[in-house]
């Protein structure tokens, strides 16, 4: 069954292309210390706003730092933190969503009311408040984003669990004497995880945008750490005179977001085909 699905994904062109794009970007980030042509934080004021050349393939920024090197190092910061946010968020929401949906009763009421309080505030505002309280820094915006976003996923997962726990195979397992935790592990989680994977992939693009957005606002990664959102912010002042500075990180963010969306769509086509 798994092989079938892997084969199905292989045939899905947008899926395979977007996966390749993401893999290349990720690899470039990981191998940046080897591959990057220059030091990403080395300031050479002689070379400010240098045009693309063999030494600086994408030119230099307002402090004379190599743009390509910064993009490569930034990939690991931007993508890595997005993945980290997603991992934390989804772990919390799987635990809370499953507990809430499967247990029901006062556990459900308590957890979901807690979530409702969270949902009553606009996403970005709440993230800004928490990140602001914790102070600037990459770790802090990761915490802030996870603290805000878990509710959304927990609600969706709770809904899935609610519909699954009335399935006959769950009832049969109960009648067969299977303990509750094992029913969750054996029958409920395997049936929600594929859907969660799709959800996560589609939303990873949004998280990348969010992180870049928060860094753009001055929270998150602090200078001189190379990060795409921070690069956008730096380049903003030179939009008229040197538009290429904003084009490079902007293109990268767009590429990553589109790739995640397409990959998510492809995964959905493959995984949710013949479910039931």
């Amino acid at each position: 069954m798994l092989q079938e699905k892997v084969k199905g994904l292989y045939r899905n062109k947008p899926g395979i292309i977007s996966f390749a794009v993401l893999a290349v970007i990720m690899l470039a980030g990981i191998l940046a210390p080897v591959l990057a042509p220059n030091d990403p934080v080395l300031v050479t004021l002689d070379n400010r706003f240098a045009a693309p050349s063999t030494q600086f393939p994408f030119g230099t920024d307002h402090l004379g730092r190599c743009v390509l090197s910064r993009l490569m190092y930034g990939a690991i910061v931007s993508l890595g933190s997005a993945l980290l946010v997603m991992t934390i968020t989804i772990t919390i929401s799987i635990i809370i969503g499953t507990l809430s949906g499967y247990k029901g009763g006062w556990v459900d009421t308590l957890l979901m009311r807690m979530g409702d309080v969270n949902l009553a505030f606009p996403d970005l505002v709440l993230t800004l408040v928490i990140a602001g309280m914790l102070g600037p820094g990459l770790a802090n915006i990761i915490i802030a984003m996870a603290a805000v976003q878990w509710v959304w996923y927990a609600r969706i997962i709770r809904g899935m669990v609610l519909s699954l726990k009335e399935r006959s195979y769950v009832l049969s397992a109960k009648v067969a004497g299977t303990p509750g935790w094992l029913i969750v592990v054996r029958h409920i989680l395997p049936n929600i995880i594929p859907h969660v994977v799709v959800l996560v992939t589609i939303n990873l693009g949004m998280v990348v945008l969010h992180i870049s957005g928060l860094t753009f606002l001055g929270l998150g990664a602090q200078p001189p750490t190379p990060e795409w959102g921070a690069m956008l912010n730096d380049a903003r002042q030179y939009l008229r005179s040197y538009p290429r500075l904003i084009m490079f990180p902007g293109t990268m963010i767009m590429l990553v977001v589109i790739s995640f969306n397409l990959l998510g769509d492809a995964l959905r086509d493959v995984i949710e085909f013949r479910e039931g």
Partner: protein
Amino acid sequence: MSLLKVKQISKTFKSKNFFTHKGRVVEAVKDISLSIEEGMCLGLVGESGCGKSTLGRIILGLEPPQSGQVIFQGKDFYKTTRQEKMKLRKDLQAVFQDYNSAINPKYPVKMAISEPLRNYLSLSPSEEIKRIGELLELVGLNPQDMHKYAYQFSGGQLQRVNIARALALNPKLIVLDEAVSSLDVSVQAQILNLLAELKRELNLSYLFISHDIEAVYYLADAIAVMYQGKLVEIINDISLFDQLVHPYSNKLLTSVLPSHPRFRTDSCVEFDELHAKPGNANECNYLDRCNCKEQLCFQVKPVLSKLTEGHLAACHKLKEINKA
């Protein structure tokens, strides 16, 4: 001593309205008592929504009742210790209506059948495979089928797999919750035959829940007719089947379609919907649809009372007939 005794079980469901805080109360099961002897099949009949599946779930231990007792093999199911409950559950299995979702689509069917085996017995892997093969053979499937997934089976085959799983632990009582209702008629007959055969061979008891009074007649040794959460008639011997007298039982009987449209008479097509309305506490449940009601029916709620030996019904009219 009977295998299963249900004593005065009641279960109500409340749904609260968020704005008015006025709850709508549905009395799914009201004050039901019945018993199943060893080796017997009790058919529980009633239209959809009359609470028969809820009763089945209460008996299976999936839904605690508000009041009353479920006594299985002499022990109160909802009041014993956890270990005791586990032990009781071994002898109490179920086959559900929805054969499609009764097997987890992620695993081959051998996983479904091995689940009860693993919970109760510690078999070696080869013993387990052997036992699963035996069970599949018992229900008329090829032992090789154990490696297939649920979507590779037809409806009738899947229901056979479900029966195999229910049989895995050699239970004493199997609750068949509309077990044949979603199959088409010829497959229904095959499954009913299989169930009858297994009952004879393994000395099983069934609680056969169905809305199809014909299927019940075929399999059951005793019949209980349920209407709006209450039992309205019980016959302890299926040979007295033609003596069902309650107006509702008669309506169920006339709802059976003849095998050919040409034989259809006017009484076959008469059909009325159930209008759930908060009834007067003192009037008969079946008042709205009854066509032989009288003054007494509006004033006193009829209780289940004995007509003849092994035949109980809840209707004023019938008691009079009996007296006269």
